[in-house]
């Protein structure tokens, strides 16, 4: 490295500025390229081995008839995909996933907003409210499932017992195919709404107080202030929360697998469970990988929409 510094110095003898600085800069630049990649390397190694490689390898698997029992690496082209598109089970699980996403996103955003708006008024004992709304988010899905399976129990469960006091007949919360997905949504709402609530609360507390002071001087009441000041200021947050929520809901698996196992009669089975089952219970890794990629395509589509929407907003 010192030799290159020297040659640079001699090749530019006419510069009036100290040649040492220029040489130093270029030296630093080449050293920086080395430094940059050295700093990036540890992450990149994990990134390549545990993210990029599985993505590529998964795609390759989806083009083979690979099974968990005997290795069969022969390429069979896109026939796994053709089979998947004709597979009623896959469509049903995709439909269940989309249904869950639609009916869970609305309450998960709206109730989070209501919770944050209530706390933003400045109630006493903030920590108590925050704790009770957010604490479920800290639980593992297994714990949440144990809680709710117990409360949903048709005979011994708290919820049916409570309803019976109003003369409401026993509901098969997790056994009735028409109700089961809603029961999962309720459990999911309880479990995860606290995260969205905190995002909303943080955004609300960033709105300058002067806006409200000015509005109240102009005679705007609390409702008026909420709809004319808070909501518009929250638009970017709302867009972000809705999109994060959609992406999170599309990945649903844990609580459904643990509470209903996808039942009754496959009425709650999400696509992630279908991928899991074709791969690990059905031993068809190649086919399972193909369904993963169809699901991935869906996620990419939603993310692309997100990108377009947020781009349009920022321009």
């Amino acid at each position: 490295m010192s030799s290159s510094t020297l040659s640079r110095q001699t090749s530019q003898p006419r510069t009036t500025r100290s040649p040492g600085i220029k040489a130093g800069l270029s030296l630093r630049r080449s050293r920086d390229t080395l430094n940059g990649w050295a700093f990036a390397a540890p992450f990149l190694i994990f990134f390549l081995v545990f993210l990029i490689w599985p993505i590529l390898y998964g795609f390759y698997m989806s083009l083979t008839g690979k099974s968990l029992t005997g290795a069969n690496d022969t390429l069979i082209g896109f026939s796994n995909y053709a089979e998947a598109f004709a597979d009623a089970g896959m469509w049903r699980s995709l439909g269940n996933t989309l249904y869950f996403t639609v009916i869970s996103t609305v309450p998960l955003v709206l109730i989070a907003l209501v919770m944050a708006a209530l706390l933003n008024i400045g109630l006493p004992a903030q920590w108590l409210w925050r704790l009770s709304y957010f604490a479920p988010f800290l639980l593992a899905s297994t714990v949440v499932s144990l809680f709710f399976v117990w409360m949903y129990n048709p005979q011994l469960g708290l919820i049916n017992d409570f309803l019976s006091k109003f003369g409401i007949a026993k509901v098969g919360w997790l056994n009735d195919p028409n109700v089961a997905m809603w029961s999962i949504v309720i459990a999911t709402l309880w479990w995860t709404v606290g995260f969205n609530f905190l995002l909303y609360l943080a955004a609300m507390q960033n709105i300058p107080v002067q806006h409200y002071e000015a509005a109240s001087l102009d005679g705007a009441g609390a409702w008026r202030q909420f709809f004319s000041i808070t909501m518009p200021q929250l638009t970017p947050t709302t867009v972000m929360i809705v999109l994060l929520q959609i992406l999170a809901s599309l990945k649903v698996f844990d609580q459904i697998y643990q509470m209903t196992g996808g039942g009754p009669g496959g009425s709650t089975r999400p696509v992630v469970q279908y991928i899991f089952e074709t791969g690990f219970t059905g031993y068809r890794l190649g086919y399972s990988a193909a369904i993963s990629y169809i699901f991935f395509g869906l996620i990419v589509l939603v993310s692309a929409l997100q990108f377009v929407i947020t781009r349009r907003r920022s321009v």
């Binding site: 990149l44 998964g58 109730i111 009770s132 011994l156 001087l217």
Partner: protein, 298 residues
């Protein structure tokens, strides 16, 4: 603003009204708000309360057809005793603890290093690198489970803790959270060190890291909670009973003692306890963590 107040409230009585009105509205509104907030809070606490009551019941009381908040034969620690004697809860808690801690530590080190490079160092290929990592944010982990499992089989890591830990250390979104924070640190702070010929690593360790404690804590908490609660990947990558993490272990308990309600609730509560305690201690940091990492994640 002060002038508008003055002009509006020139009559003495008017000025009083201006001050009083919002107060009055606020108190009425506040009572309504407290009521609604309390109603939601009670709803949100009921599952915890019901699980706790059940855990302190005898199995007979728990499975009695008459639902009761106060069990006829009184409260008992039997369920907890049984869980400790029969189950592996302490072992699984330990497994969860050290795998989550390892995931958090590795994530922090490798993410902070690359975030520093992306933020402070000009190097060839940086832009391409950024685009690739941003794109990786959208990759949903379930899509990777099949190839990752196969890869772990090939590495002979299935049924080792490595299988649980290694694939969970890549958090592209966290890299950008850290990068954004590093971007805000004034360059003047490191210029003196550069003049003195300090190496990049030294600047990173001695100047950047100490200034970044809040964001490092936020990322650590976020990653730790995620790792502690992750179910799908540990479930796929381990079968060995002695390696199970708490969420996966609980799932096996549920199938093994399907009808023992008091015992199930006792295990669930024991599993929930560590993070709830952590939350009570680090409430402010956790909330900040969710707010900053969640917001900056996109």
């Amino acid at each position: 603003m002060a002038t508008t107040t003055l002009t509006r409230s020139t009559p003495a009585s008017g000025s009083r009204q201006v001050i009083r009105q919002p107060r009055k509205k606020l108190t009425v509104g506040k009572i309504a708000a407290v009521t609604v907030a309390a109603f939601i809070a009670v709803l949100w606490l009921i599952p915890f309360a019901w699980a706790t009551v059940t855990a302190f019941k005898s199995e007979a009381d728990a499975s009695a057809s008459k639902v009761s908040w106060f069990p006829p034969s009184g409260f008992t620690f039997d369920a907890f005793v049984n869980v400790f004697q029969a189950g592996n809860i302490p072992l699984w808690t330990w497994n969860s603890l050290y795998t989550s801690a390892a995931i958090t530590a590795i994530t922090l080190v490798i993410s902070a290093l690359i975030a520093y490079a992306l933020s402070r160092i000009e190097f060839k290929g940086k832009k391409v690198l950024m685009v690739v990592i941003i794109a990786a944010i959208i990759v949903p982990p379930p899509v990777l489970m099949i190839p990752l499992f196969y890869q772990m089989l090939a590495f002979k890591m299935i049924d080792t803790s490595w299988a649980i830990i290694l694939p969970q250390v890549i958090h592209p979104a966290m890299v950008f959270v850290l990068k954004k924070f590093f971007d805000q640190i004034p360059h003047e702070l490191e210029e003196a060190a550069v003049m003195d010929g300090a190496s990049r690593l030294r600047i990173f360790v001695q100047i950047i890291l100490p200034l970044s404690r809040p964001i490092l804590a936020a990322v650590a908490i976020f990653v730790f909670i995620g790792a502690w609660n992750n179910f799908l990947w540990p479930f796929i990558s381990t079968n060995d009973d002695s390696l199970l993490t708490l969420p996966v272990g609980l799932q096996t308990i549920k199938s093994a003692y399907g009808v023992q309600y008091a015992q199930n609730m006792a295990s669930a509560l024991l599993a929930a306890l560590p993070l709830i305690v952590v939350f009570l201690f680090f409430q402010r940091q956790i909330i900040k963590g969710v707010a900053t990492t969640g917001l900056a994640g996109t």
